[in-house]
Symmetry: none
Subunit: 244 residues, 4 copies
DNA sequence: GATGAATGAGGGTTCATTCAT
DNA sequence: TATGAATGAACCCTCATTCAT
């Protein structure tokens, strides 16, 4: 991503002399082959829709061409082949799903409220239609492209897991939680927040994503269970005071 | 091919009723079109390997032909088209995964031991290579064939869920557990038993399935959490006595 | 055809000993392979429907199997291959179309009436749905199987043509008609009787065969033309007397 | 391939309007998908040979590919499927057969000569090898694609029929012919001109098309019959004067 | 640099024919 | 003898990729 902008600032290679360039040194006119970020975005936007709706194999480059509104040849300038384009899409999706998912952990609210907010944000995201489709697409190819799935999980859920582990550690330090295995506790928490929901959505057992109320219900129950199991006496005192 | 004769003497499966059969009850002669269970198994076995390795779209009927060792035309005698063959595979897989998964609930053991045994059986099954591959295959098509995914979940995980709910209800009646929402508690339990594992496996973050020790560790922690949250005073007394 | 009956009377070959045979020497039970006229008829009846409805190429042996109610193998006992079966059908159809078509020429009626009756029988036959379909089927393969088309025409229309020529010759001898080229006159007559109709039907320009009134109208006009051109003074006198 | 450039400078056919075109009116660059008239012609030429030689069903797209010298995919850029390609061929053939067939009616010659010339042109055309093959092809599918056959007849023979009816009407107005039913008379005329020939050719009873002499013989006889039946006294006077 | 027409291998499916039963 | 399951070539059509324009 950065390289796009970096390249703009490099001195143009010799064969580019004669290319239109304004006196301010900013190149106008055509970007180098495969370097126009607008076109790249156009391609990715079209490809995302197609790949996520149909899956990797059922998506055809023609479909993508049509959806993106660019020519076949152009796609192959920006991406070596279907697979690389797909990988770029997956990378992008991962970002758009998991970035900004952990902000809830930084509110200064009480622990229970924070956990509920975080749990809901997580559960909402993971079970919403768009994201379920994207995950299906990734899972669908993970047998043949395990590295792709692995990278998706590593930079997505696993990255978030670490953030959450840090959060729990901080809370533990404050003496509000007591967990023998914080990483495991973190996994337990996230899975409690989606109890039953993730698999129901990913297998299309549910045709609609869970409602906000349902998510709140499941997350609340999960948080309660979590706090009952890992909350310290100190936490209980604090919360008792709070609710008074 | 030789196995044909061996198998021929087995009891014919239920769906063969109505086929020509000699008075002695042993079927003679050639089975009806699409009815030879040996050939059918051959096809299903080949197709299973191919579908589960490659996914529905990437699997070609030629691959299946080759893998099954039958001719292209023969497959179309037994199955109307690729999709029906796929559905048969999914149905079969579902059966082989989820049947006999809930026997652990019927041991007369103590509650904790029973839950651990059940949780381990479940977690083992769901995260083993074969089953992960199968689930990927189903998930991969659930966008375009939601009914297939739905049926898989309904007759697989959801069916098991109900069995487990019945179990929990019985235990609750004995006064050992106290749950406001038994169904939710059941989902929490199963997800706690696979805490983190399912998604790590399904996304190929792990290249190996979890070891028995790891599963035991996760399940034990999950059971403890569950019992701490839902166990009654009576249960605690019983367990205390037990562990003395 | 005759061989069927002949074979019945032959001494059964050695390997037939033990076959059921009544004391009167007439074999009961199974006819020799490919010799049972009932089965043959069954096959031909099924094949006729299929071939005539779909044409040679679009007809599948499976369709015929189903329509005839006999097994694939049996068909190949009676007919070496699809083409031979087709030829048998065409032969049969030819017979059923053109046999008994020339009886009208033997009525003792007056010439005009006889010609009208004959023309109508001809025109009716050639333009009725069943026969149009059959002719399309034959014409459709006449490029690739010219002999088949040739034989159809030769033994069908051409045979009838000769009968009609004989008729016209007899009439000419009676001094009622005077034709320089009787064969040409015969062709002219038959084509006048179907003026426009044949091609309209064969190309499906008409979706319905012509009605009896239409045929009568066309045939009457054709006969009038024909008689005006080839009728002698004697004929005119006779007909004048008749209509008085 | 070289011819491409030669032809490129021809006036583009009507259906090319809207294609990118330089201000000088000469189209530059590559034609749009399915729009290159050279390639289209190449495909049609190949397909025509194959379809007309083998009939619709027996013709394979591979055969056409080979005959046309273009790749399979290319055909499908120009034509949606086999049937549409076939329809295009039939349409083309119809045009090439029936266009310019009625010019003979506009010579200023005497009636008899005009009719003979027209009748011969018609008879020649309809019975020549190429056209017989084409008609067989159309007839062969008219059972399953009646609309195609209907359109062929409507825009071909039926269109010509109307032109001929107009001609006869004009002649009748001049008092040279007297026909109660001009349309029927027109059909009678055309069928007299091919008396016996059309069916003999279409059924492959004749392996060779009729010679010019034969056609002249049949047509002359047909015209004579026609004029004898429908000619007025005035016509006879005119013709008598002419032949003196 | 961008285009999209062209490619031809390979997709799912059907078919005439054979031959073990 | 009659059967119909099995065959595998060939069917129509789609596809990722290339390269002349």
């Amino acid at each position: 991503m950065e390289s796009e902008f970096k390249l703009r600032e490099e001195k143009p290679p010799a064969e580019m002399e004669g290319c239109p360039m304004a006196p301010d040194g900013v190149r106008r006119g055509r970007p180098a082959a495969g370097q126009d970020p607008v076109k790249r975005k156009q391609i990715l936007d079209g490809a995302r829709r197609v790949f996520i709706d149909m899956g990797f194999d059922a998506a055809s480059m023609n479909d993508i061409t049509r959806e993106a509104g660019v020519s076949k040849g152009t796609i192959y300038v920006y991406f070596a082949n279907k697979e690389e384009l797909f990988e770029a899409i997956v990378e992008e999706e991962r970002g758009s799903i998991f970035n900004n998912l952990y902000g809830a952990l930084q509110s200064g609210d009480g622990l229970r409220e924070t956990l509920i907010n975080f749990g809901m944000a997580l559960s909402f995201k993971i079970t919403c239609d768009k994201v379920i489709s994207a995950q299906r697409t990734v899972i669908g190819v993970s047998e043949r492209m395990p590295d792709l799935g692995k990278r998706f999980y590593e930079r997505g859920p696993m990255h978030g897991h670490k953030i959450f582990v840090d959060f729990l550690e901080a809370v533990a330090k404050k003496g509000l939680l007591e967990m023998k295995d914080i990483s495991l506790a973190a996994f337990q928490f996230t899975d409690l927040c989606m109890a039953g929901l993730f698999r129901q959505c990913i297998f299309a057992y549910r045709s609609e994503p869970p409602s906000e109320e349902e998510i709140r219900y499941v997350v609340s129950a999960g948080v309660d269970l979590f706090l009952k199991a890992y909350g310290t006496e100190k936490l209980r005192r604090l919360m008792g005071a709070e609710s008074d």
